[in-house]
């Protein structure tokens, strides 16, 4: 049975329809006009317990609005949501006991108090026992180095510390379903790595996770399934590996030769591959169809013939695929 199920989920907002300039402002004052804007357009989504799902899309695609619908903050204009069998909007308080939410751009820490005070208030809110609280704080400290800034005022934290503290706030009650909206936004690479490792461990422990992020490394390292939305509707829903296997059919090898590379000659010698000159005269990139050739075949043949000084293999990335999905070049 799915832990989360959304059917034909739709959210329409009313926006003021103003023309620019002074005249437009005066006109709107006298004769108000509004336009309906559909942020989420008939989304179907079903998540099984223990799944880790990346929910991605370009800016304004409706990701955050969907998260707000799924967490009960917003009431759907149409459609239904059930989280653990409950309507998250009408049964908001009961639902909130079982979910953890992090909005990367909004802190849940009390700004002018030490981090510890915020966590203690949340302990009371969720009815976490003293023993569980201590054990979880110790765990967060181990994985997120929480202890170093527990006594610090929230407003004095760096962005990375704030995000780690917010993550602890979202998870202090060991929720079954966790929504993370842009959890790594603005963080440096080392903090991102730690957060990803932490999330991976969370998922391995059986927590169900819905993650929105613009950082594709978050998605690849933490999630198994990806839902791509664009203009409020689902553009792709399936395993990340399947997305890669289905849409990423080529791989590339960068070769650094001893002398200048003659691309035309290489094209004649290896017509089964695509060739392109690299940035340096001795650099050349060869692209091959991964469905027809294995990396071992390609590398074996090329190294035997060309004896390159160095080489690198480009791993398949979902970034291009998602970019192409956003651009409408690919379909489900």
């Amino acid at each position: 049975m799915p832990i989360l199920e959304a059917r034909s989920l739709t959210k329409t907002f009313r926006r003021p329809d103003k023309t620019s300039g002074f005249k437009g402002a005066v006109k709107h004052l006298v004769q108000r006009k509004y336009k309906n804007y559909t942020a989420v357009d008939g989304i179907d989504l079903s998540i099984e317990p223990g799944e880790s799902v990346a929910y991605v899309g370009p800016n304004g695609a409706g990701k955050s609005t969907t998260v707000k619908l799924l967490t009960g903050i917003l009431r759907p204009s149409e459609g239904t949501v059930r989280v653990m069998g409950r309507d998250p909007h009408t049964e908001r308080i009961a639902n909130a006991h079982d979910i953890g939410v992090l909005f990367g751009q909004r802190t849940q820490l009390w700004w002018d108090l030490p981090v510890e005070e915020s966590l203690k208030l949340l302990k009371h809110m969720y009815g976490v026992s003293d023993a569980d609280y201590k054990a979880r704080i110790a765990r967060f400290d181990e994985l997120l180095d929480l202890g170093e800034f527990m006594p610090a005022l929230a407003r004095t934290l760096s962005l990375g510390q704030r995000m780690r503290a917010d993550l602890a706030c979202a998870l202090i009650h060991a929720p079954k379903m966790v929504y993370l909206d842009e959890p790594t936004i603005g963080l440096d690479i080392s903090v991102k790595d730690r957060l990803r490792a932490f999330l991976r461990e969370l998922v391995d422990g059986g927590t169900t996770l819905l993650l929105t992020s613009h950082d594709l490394a978050d998605i690849e390292e933490v999630c198994e399934r990806i839902v791509v939305i664009d203009k409020g509707a689902v553009a792709y829903d399936g395993p990340i590996q399947q997305l890669k296997a289905h849409y990423i059919t080529t791989k590339a090898v960068n070769l650094f030769l001893e002398g200048p590379a003659d691309v035309d000659e290489l094209k004649l010698k290896f017509p089964q591959y695509e060739w392109a000159a690299g940035e340096a005269p001795s650099e050349v990139t060869v692209t091959y169809e991964s469905r027809h050739f294995t990396a071992a075949e390609v590398l074996g043949g090329l190294t035997a013939e060309l004896a390159p000084r160095d080489l690198s293999l480009s791993e398949p990335s979902i970034e291009d695929v998602i970019r192409r999905l956003y651009a409408g070049e690919l379909t489900k």
């Binding site: 907002f13 955050s64 609005t65 707000k68 967490t71 009960g72 903050i73 917003l74 009431r75 908001r92 308080i93 009961a94 909130a96 006991h97 979910i99 939410v101 909005f103 990367g104 751009q105 909004r106 802190t107 849940q108 009390w110 002018d112 108090l113 005070e117 203690k120 208030l121 949340l122 302990k123 009371h124 809110m125 969720y126 009815g127 976490v128 005022l153 909206d181 842009e182 936004i185």
Partner: protein, 265 residues
């Protein structure tokens, strides 16, 4: 398992601690509130030099002004902006993901912030008592009922403030709403001028509103301007307004929450 009141206490304690973080506020509140009290004392001393006006003599007015200082410090010193900001900056999105009743949590926070004004009140009242030596309550029972009226001011002030803060869901601004509420509160509570000095029709308007319970009710009970039955009637009206505003705010919130439109992350 944590009791429901433990959560309320935790919210109130957080709000109190937040006020502790800004110690200068206490000094400023004492200087402004104490200054306003001194100006009032000087003005009424001159006005009442020739004898009683509208039933107030200099003795009773000294006590009245101190009661006005107490309610004004508690009510105007509370953290109404913190509630308004949650709605205006979209922080309500985070609040709605928590397993607590939004109104009750805000009430606990608000009352916690009101409690943080008590030291200012105590210092101000002590100073005023030493300087002006006001009369005590008309009777010990009047003193007790005045204390009940003061206690009811806390939830009543929350109800009034919260209901006006919820208007932000529609106005998207708070400043004007706050000014209007504070102007009406200052005028119709009797904080600025006792209601007895107003024409009878204006007094009738005031008593049809919750505002007089912020100064006129505790002052009338304290000074013995109403008998015990009258005092109990005023307290019943104060309690009724408290409940009415509480449940009225619930209805408004249930409509308002449908208007939550927190865009972006």
């Amino acid at each position: 398992m944590t009791s429901a009141f433990a959560v309320d206490r935790a919210f109130a304690a957080i709000a109190f601690k937040r006020r502790l973080a800004y110690k200068a506020q206490w000094v400023v509140a004492l200087v402004l509130g104490g200054g306003a009290m001194l100006v009032s004392m000087a003005m009424w001393r001159e006005l009442l030099a020739g004898g009683a006006l509208s039933g107030y003599d200099w003795d009773s007015m000294r006590a009245y002004i101190i009661i006005g200082f107490v309610t004004a410090t508690v009510v105007f010193g509370a953290a109404d902006w913190q509630v308004a900001d949650r709605i205006l900056d979209g922080h309500i999105a985070v609040d709605l993901t928590k397993p607590v009743d939004f109104q009750r949590a805000r009430a606990a926070e608000y009352i916690g912030s009101m409690v943080s004004t008590v030291p200012t009140v105590l210092v101000g009242v002590l100073g005023a008592w030493l300087l002006f030596d006001p009369p005590g309550p008309a009777t010990p029972l009047a003193g007790l009922l005045t204390a009940v009226s003061f206690v009811l001011v806390f939830p009543l002030a929350f109800g009034l403030t919260y209901l006006t803060v919820l208007v932000c869901f529609w106005t998207k601004r708070y400043l004007g709403v706050m000014w209007l509420r504070e102007a009406l509160l200052g005028f119709f509570s009797g904080m600025v001028i006792p209601l007895a000095f107003m024409p009878s029709w204006l007094q009738a308007v005031a008593w049809a509103l919750p505002f007089p319970h912020f100064t006129t009710t505790p002052a009338a009970i304290y000074l013995g301007r109403v008998d015990t039955a009258g005092a109990l009637g005023l307290l019943a009206a104060e309690a009724a307004w408290t409940l009415g505003l509480w449940f009225g705010a619930r209805i408004v919130f249930n409509h308002a929450v449908k208007k939550v439109t927190v865009h972006g992350g």
